[in-house]
């Protein structure tokens, strides 16, 4: 789960990291009064779960409250990478002397949190890593000891030769590590960490990604979820324990298991089609899940055909067949349905389908090829 900049900064602040004050608003007039309260020039920043906000015109410097109003009015409602900006952060503009990057990620290969620190701040860190890798210092943390003081100081001195600044930066490293561990992050990043012209260290922008597996035990973090910034169909799916991601194609896919779901999408592409979604109904074979899956997929107007690919191991294929029949009875499909189903209780499933005028293939390639053909307006084989 992604957090907004203002949420990440709230968490940073609670761990003692200095960040500029700010207010989150949803209207241009509220942006104007927030800017007036801040006094002096402000930044108006789109709060949306997308990178590259600045390049997209979602971050603006404003000299006056009137300008803040005008800029906020342009930013609110704008689309950045397909996501509508619903709110902006109004925050005092800082006078920047230098910019650095400090981030922590879960390093899968090292199986540890790894610090990435660079004096080349304010830029895309992937770009820095690709073009000037020598400008980044990495440090893997043994979570059983945490970030040791000398390690934090080494990182501090990598950024600043001035001892006072290095010590202040080392403190930020410790605080960011505490925030990372304390919220169950897979990524926590300050970009840029700035030194102001007054010599103060400030986190000017923040990003946090939470490990979804942490949310059950951290209700305070789950409470930060911004449903308004997510795709409504994906929210609906999550509420029904379905793993669903909407894409732009026209072959709707219902599959059991994430690996098979991805392989099915890939096979759609292999046969010249485009998948409309990723959808994993999971291992349990509750017919209710199938009903919800069909409801969510058929709501997508792009979908021209629905493809089921079920390999029954733990999942009982008769449960899936019952779910399909129940869903169609409740609301008849307007698009063709192609079913591939094999495995546990396959004979019962095929009988249930046949009794309701449906047939199924046992072969994945055959089913996918047929679905792609139907999506293109062709006749079924």
């Amino acid at each position: 789960m992604n957090l907004h900049e203002y949420q990440a900064k709230d968490i940073f602040r609670s761990h003692g990291i200095s960040t500029p004050a700010g207010e989150v608003v949803t209207t241009p007039s509220a942006a104007e009064s927030a800017a007036a309260r801040a006094g002096g020039p402000v930044m108006v920043k789109a709060q949306v779960h997308a990178g590259g906000r600045g390049k997209a015109g979602g971050v603006k410097y404003c000299k006056s409250p009137a300008e803040a109003r005008e800029k906020a009015s342009a930013i609110l409602g704008m689309k950045i990478k397909g996501l509508t900006v619903e709110k902006v952060l109004v925050t005092p503009a800082a006078e920047i002397a230098s910019e650095a990057y400090v981030g922590i990620i879960v390093d899968r290969a090292r199986k540890k949190p790894v610090f990435m620190v660079s004096a080349a701040g304010g830029m895309d860190i992937e770009e820095v890593a690709a073009k000037t890798p020598e400008k980044i210092r990495y440090h893997a943390v043994d979570v059983r000891y945490g970030l040791l003081p000398f390690e934090a100081l080494e990182l501090g001195f990598f950024l600043y030769s001035d001892a006072k600044l290095a010590r202040a930066a080392a403190r930020v490293m410790q605080q960011l590590y505490a925030a990372f561990m304390g919220s169950g992050c897979s990524l926590a990043e300050i970009n840029p960490l700035v030194v102001t012209s007054a010599g103060e260290i400030l986190a000017l922008d923040g990003k946090m990604v939470i490990d979804d597996n942490e949310l059950d035990r951290r209700p305070e973090v789950e409470a930060l979820r911004d449903v308004s910034s997510e795709n409504p169909a994906e929210v609906d799916a999550r509420n029904h324990s379905l793993s669903f991601i909407m894409l732009e194609g026209n072959v709707g896919c219902v599959v059991n298991g994430a690996g098979l779901a991805m392989a099915t999408m890939d096979l759609v592409k292999y046969y010249g089609g485009e998948p409309a979604n990723f959808l994993d109904i999971g291992g349990s074979s509750n017919p209710e899940k199938v009903v919800n899956a069909l409801r969510i997929i058929t709501a997508d107007a792009n979908v021209k055909v629905i493809l089921f690919n079920i390999f029954g191991g733990i999942t009982r294929t008769d449960d899936v067949a019952n779910g399909i029949v129940a869903a169609i009875k409740a609301s008849p499909l307007k698009v063709p349905l192609v079913i591939r189903l094999t495995g546990t209780n396959e004979e019962i499933a095929l009988k249930i389908l046949a009794e309701n005028g449906l047939n199924a293939s046992a072969d994945m390639d055959e089913a996918v090829e047929q679905a792609v053909k139907l999506a293109k307006g062709g006749k079924a084989a």
Binding site: A263, F278, T344
Partner: protein, 290 residues
């Protein structure tokens, strides 16, 4: 022969009285796995299905039955502790089926398991099966057959799909290992490739990877430099958008890293046969077994 589990496997089931634990304990027993103990704290002294003694702790189970392998079906909040309990009790192979274990937990678990000399498989995995010898986990026994192919995969049902295709084509398996779909897992592709390379009965390996991380790229390099046996690979997620978690916690393209394209390229460079579709494994493996 087989890898990690086989005829000598004596199994303790952690969470044997739970819904999933009891169901799969029966399935494993039916398959012929020697299930010698179960663990559910507070139910020590009882019997599971009248034949398997239940203990309060893994240590008691190991001391009294000599179990050398454990399988874990407990909720995610308790999984990390269950893994460490098994390793501390001297279990050599610990298989964690549980999905949803936080990655920060796994960072503590991994070094603990290593220090205790245990092998962890998973979490978030279907377990493993050595056809005709033993099954530990949830892979359906009837889709497998004994034979010369080692199978290793990050996925569950995709593995079943491929194994089923192989079996139908008359190509059996030594061992099928599901290493799990999480970003940090106990056993990676290289661990399995190493074991298959050593196993005299394995003559070819089928490897199913997916987007996210660099495990496949490192495995490819291992195949190129250290393996004599042929390997055929598949990568799921060629159509996955970047930045989205595709069901598995580990199946995510971060920035521009961990794409299917870069993994397939690594396979090609290292002499791994590329299955473009799951069905392609059959022909590619058959060719390499000749």
């Amino acid at each position: 022969m087989s890898v990690f589990i086989g005829k000598d496997t004596t199994l303790v089931v952690q969470g044997i009285t739970g819904r999933d634990g009891s169901f799969h304990a029966r399935q494993m027993m039916e398959y012929g796995t020697r299930v010698v103990a179960g663990v559910t704290p507070g139910k020590g002294g009882q019997q599971f299905d009248g034949v398997v003694p239940i203990f309060n702790t893994v240590r008691q189970a190991v001391e009294q039955t000599g179990a050398n392998t454990s399988v874990i079906y407990v909720p995610p909040a308790f999984a990390a502790d269950a893994i460490m309990e098994a390793a501390a009790a001297g279990v050599k192979v610990v298989v964690c089926i549980t999905e949803g274990v936080p990655v920060l937990d796994m960072m503590r678990v991994y070094p603990f398991v290593k220090e205790h000399g245990a092998r962890l498989i998973g979490p978030n995995c279907p377990g493993l099966i050595s056809p005709g010898e033993a099954k530990v986990g949830i892979i359906p026994g009837r889709i497998c057959a004994r034979g010369p192919v080692g199978v290793v995969s990050r996925s569950g049902t995709l593995t079943y799909e491929v194994v089923y295709q192989l079996t139908r084509a008359g190509i059996g398996q030594t061992t099928c290992v599901g290493i799990g779909g999480d970003p940090i897992n106990g056993t990676n592709f290289i661990d399995c490739l190493e074991a298959f390379e050593r196993d005299p009965d394995t003559h070819a390996v089928a490897l199913m990877g997916e987007i996210g991380g660099t495990d496949e790229q490192e495995a490819a390099e291992y195949v190129r430099t250290r393996m004599k046996k042929p390997v055929v690979g598949f990568i799921a997620g060629q159509t996955a958008p970047p930045g989205r978690r595709m069901g598995h916690a580990g199946a995510i393209i971060s920035g521009s890293a961990g794409t299917a394209a870069e993994k397939i390229e690594a396979f090609e460079k290292c002499g791994i046969g590329i299955a473009r579709r799951p069905i392609d494994f059959v022909a590619l493996i058959r060719e390499r077994l000749k």
